[in-house]
Structures are given as structure tokens and as C-alpha cells.
Amino acid sequence: MNSMNKIIDYLKETYEIKSVKSPMDMQFHFETEKKLVHSILGDLKSKGFKQLSLITAVDWIEENEFQLTYILFNWDNGIHAILNTRLDRDNPKFTTILPIFPGAEYYERDVHEFFGIEFKGNEKSFKPLFLEMWDELPPLRKDFDPQAFSDKTFPKMEYTTQFLTDVGGVNNEGS
Amino acid sequence: MNLINFLQAIGIVLFAFIFQTSLTGINRKITARIQRRRGPVWYQQFLDIFKALTKTSITHGWIYDFGVIMALGGIAATLMMVPIAGFESFPGMDNIFIITYLLAVGMLGMAMSASGSGNPWAAIGVSRALTSMLAYDIPFMLVMIGLIFKFDTASLSNFAALQQTGSIVTWNIIKYPIGGFVALISLQGMLGKKPFDNFIAPAEIASGPMVEYGGKHLGMLFILHELSTFIEVGLIVNIFFGGGPTVIAFLVKYVIVYTLTNMVSQVLARFKVDQMVMFYYKVPLALAFIQGFIIVITNSGGVLWF
């Protein structure tokens, strides 16, 4: 707790971060602007947060924004640092963090394939990783309808038996 | 050498096939009981072989087909030379050297056809099989040379006859226990049982040389394995256990040796191929040298042990 508070205070003084919260014991989340992400990540890495655990994205379709999330982990005191930024949904472009964390290459490929966010500077992120021969919308966006796609591409079985629906009493006895 | 000899030879091959296949099935049941479960029926190995022979099979060219036939023919020819308790199809031709030499035909035939299939797993499996052959043959041949020097004969039926003059203490396993121990360890390697079955290795190299075989080729390979087991265990029984004055005694000794080998193999793990070669060149080779040394010093008359 002590070291976590120290890190949070340091970040609040040096950069402009908002909405810091700590929902679980050894984690803290905060949100920041797009242009500060690289410097904060580099700074945290030099303070001991050497492992990049995950890069993922959330689709806020009502606010018309994508949220990129970076999760870092410190092996010395076991603290997770979680960083969120917002991107514009109609033109999602960002710069890669490959120079800071070389392991981000596959995470950025993953996010590009499933959300459509482009990472400038990471040439390999445009190659498909999980999906083969996919030319529809990126699947994890909220305006992609998986049920319709599944019905169209993988046909289902037709049932010809009529099942009785008024025997058994679950829907009938209302009181 | 007339027709009777050939018919006797074919009879020996058929008898060996039926006996060994039933014994393999019974040993599968024994393995199952070791692992606290029921096993298959005792004739399951017959069903496996005949099922494999009724499937359609693919081919990769004539070397692929020819190698299997050459291996099977070579092993069947070797089997005709093994004496069973006085039954010899071709008298005078049951030399140890002939049998050990012809056993290599089986392995080489399989290597030839496996490399004809073009699969890289087969190439790895074949190189492992030939490397392990290099490992287990050397201590075995040293012990054999020592015994041939002592008894002044290399014929298997003479070996068997020389051990039947008397009670159990004339068996070579009692008189030369170190050599017998080395031969039994080599037998484990020759049969391809754990801990020395790295050339089959199903989960590691997708069963090695047998990776492209299916259908009739696989059935023939199973028959090959059964016949070569009979030759190798028969060799050890004749040289070390007295060979048996009657056929029943021979078969009883055979069953005991094979079952013990199988039970040992079910409780051990698998060695890697370099560990196997290093093992064979340390302890069994040293023991084989000690055995040879003992034979040479006691040759001039002294009796060290029995």
C-alpha cells in the first residue's frame, strides 16, 4: 500500500492523470491522454514495472470511442498498474510501444485483428494472427452481429418435431 | 535337405507366430492387471493383426512396399534356423553368427522402406533405431564371444545340449550370472521395450518408422515384430537357460523370460537415445569385460563359482 501510494503520488505530480481508483488490493487504474502514454509507460518501466501483462481494448459504442488498456506488473512488490486511454472510434490510430516493450508485438496484432485499431510503426501488426481469411468487420466490435454471421455461414439443423409447450405447469400457474 | 526339412521350417514359423501372438495377448492382460484394470481378451493381438490386414493401404513407391516384404522375408528365414528343443529344420545352420547377422536384415528392411516414405518423423525414428542397435549389440556380442570361446562351439543346439547334462546348476545363467545379466539387459533393448523403446515413442515422434504405415503394411510389421521377438527370446533361452530337453520345457522357460521382461518394462520410464547409448557403454560393457576376464582366467582349469 505504501509503495502503491508513492507511485500514485509521483504520477499525479509529474503527469496529468485522472480518475485514479483501486478496486482491489494490489492494483490501481488510471486514465490519461493519448500523447502521454509513451512517457508514462517508459517512466513506469524504469520504476520497476518491467512486465507488460496485457494490451486490450474496450468498445464504448455509445460514446463513440475505443478505450485502450495497458496492464503492467511489478515483480518486486506485486503491484499491477493499469493504464487506460481513449481513442476516436471512427479513425482509431495509435503509435506502437514496441521500442519500450518488445513483447507488445503480438498483443498489438491481436488488438488490430479483433478491433481494427491500427498501430503505426509495428509493421507486423497488419498480418492476421488468429483468424484466417477474414474479410468482415473485426469480430469483437459491438456492431458486429455474431449470431447473424453464424446463421449465415454455418447452417443449423432443422427440427421437424413439434414440442409441447403447455404441459408441465411452469408457465401456467402464475400465483 | 529335402522336402521334409522345408515343411518342418514352415511349420516352425507358423507355430512360432501363433504361440508368440497368443503370448502377447496374455501379456497385455498381465500388464492390465499390473495397472489394476481388466485387459482385452487373450486373442486380441490376433484381432489387431487381422484387422490391419483387411484395410486398404496407400503406397509411396516400390521401395516402400519392397522394404516391408524384404524385412518380413528375412525374419521368417531367420526363424527357420532357430532350434526348438532338438527340432532343427536345417541341421548345422543354427550358428549364432548367422542368426545375429540375419536379424539385421529385418531392421534394415524397415529402415529402407521408412525412408522411402519421405516423412521426417520416419527418418528420425530410423536413425534412433539404428543408433540403439549399435548400443545394445556390443555388450551382447562380447558375452557371446566369451561363451563361444569357452564352449568351443557356436551352434545353438550344441549350447542347449551342453547345458542339459545335469541339474539346474549347469545352466549358463547360474554358471555365468554376470554374462546372463548383461544378456538380459541387451534383450530388453533388442525387443524394443521400455526403457529402451525411444525409436517407437508414440507421443514424441509419432511412432517413428511406422508413421506412414497403415493397413496391410502395418499388419505385416506387426507380424514382423512377433517373429523377431520369438527369435530373440529363443536365442537367450537356448544359450542361457538350457534350451529344454522337451518342447514343453522350452516353452515354459520362454514364457517365464518373456513375461518377466514385459513386467519390468511396464514399470520403467523411457530413456532418451543418448542416455541409452551412454548407459550401455558404461555398466553392461564393464560387466561384459569382467565376464570375459573371468572366462579367460578359469579356462586353464580353475573353478571360480559352480
Binding site: L131, E132, F154, P155 | G39, Q44, P202, A206, M210, L218
Partner: protein
């Protein structure tokens, strides 16, 4: 009057079917989450070797391909390769409800819904996942089907190959495997 219920096999085929039904080698490769129920069926408690079945390492040596659970479209391309490499006679057993009608992944973008359109299935075993007792029951049923000469999935595949191929191309667009390792 059912005309095609008579046993039209020759004596040799009856003998062949007896041997093929008594010793079945399964391919040791299972696709979805149902593969977790196969090691208990194979080991000491629910012994599968009593039925004459055992695992073999490669598709060339195996008789039976088990589709255990869901089948994503990437795996389906590779399973079609494996199925066509197996040697006849060969059988497919489908485990679980995902192969019947999609199971709990009925609305997923990456999982196929009905296996019967792409590969011929001889026997379905219901459950999510079926327990080892159910699997043993299913295999006993498969053995009696093979011995009676009724497990003819591979013949159906050969005769209706265009229909199966059309369905495969419709869902997969291409059965040829293209990924990073094959470049």
C-alpha cells in the same frame, strides 16, 4: 415393407466386419473440450482396452476419428486433411451437443454448428461432455454397428463428395490451409 434391411454382404465381408469391429484404433487427437473425458476412459477406472480399442499416433494407422466437442473453422480445415488421410474403412464419432446443433456456442462467429454437413458421422454421443460411462456405451454401440455392417460413413463421403465439398466451401471459403507456418 423395408427392402434394404436384408444383409447383403458376402461371407468375406462378414469376416472383415467382424475383425474391424473387434479391434478399433482411435486417433489420439481430439478437437474440443471433450478431450478431457478421454484419458479417464482410457485409464484404469473405466478401461477402454476391454473393448479392444486403443490409441494410435497417426491418421494413417487409425480407424476412428473422434470429434469431441466444438469444432472451430480453423480446426475443421485441418480435420478434413486428417480425415482424407485415413485409410478405409474409417468411422467418425461425434461427442457432445456442439456437433449436433452448435451447443452453447450456437451464436459464435468461429464455431461450426452442424458437423453432418462437412463430414459423415456414424454415431453421436449426447452430453456436454458425455461421461466415461456414456462413452463406453457409445463405443459398444459402434462395435455392434460395425459388426452388422451398418457403419458406412466413408462410403457416403465418397459417393456424395460434391455435396460435402459444396458445404465445406460455403462455410470455409477454402479448405487449403494458409497460415504463417506454411508460407
Amino acid at each position: 415393407m423395408v427392402l434394404n434391411d436384408k444383409d447383403m454382404r458376402s461371407a468375406w465381408e462378414k469376416v472383415e466386419n467382424y475383425f474391424q469391429g473387434s479391434s478399433i484404433w482411435m486417433k489420439w487427437y481430439c478437437t474440443g473440450c471433450g478431450a478431457i473425458e478421454l484419458p479417464p476412459t482410457l485409464t484404469s477406472r473405466f478401461d477402454m482396452e476391454r473393448l479392444g480399442m486403443g490409441p494410435m499416433a497417426t491418421p494413417r494407422q487409425a480407424d476412428i476419428l473422434l470429434i469431441t466437442g466444438y469444432l472451430s473453422f480453423k480446426t475443421l480445415r485441418r480435420v478434413i486433411y486428417s480425415y482424407e488421410q485415413m485409410q478405409e474403412p474409417k468411422y467418425i464419432v461425434a461427442f457432445g451437443s456442439c456437433t449436433v446443433n452448435g451447443g452453447i456456442y450456437y451464436d459464435s462467429y468461429s464455431v461450426m454448428n452442424r458437423l453432418d454437413f462437412y463430414l459423415p458421422v456414424d454415431l453421436y454421443i449426447a452430453g456436454c461432455m458425455p461421461r466415461p460411462e456414456a462413452i463406453l456405451n457409445g463405443f459398444k454401440e459402434l462395435k455392434s454397428m460395425i459388426k452388422a455392417g451398418k457403419a458406412e460413413g466413408y462410403k457416403k463421403y465418397k459417393e456424395n463428395y460434391e455435396w460435402y465439398r459444396k458445404n465445406q466451401i460455403h462455410s470455409l471459403k477454402e479448405v487449403y490451409v494458409k497460415d504463417e507456418f506454411h508460407e
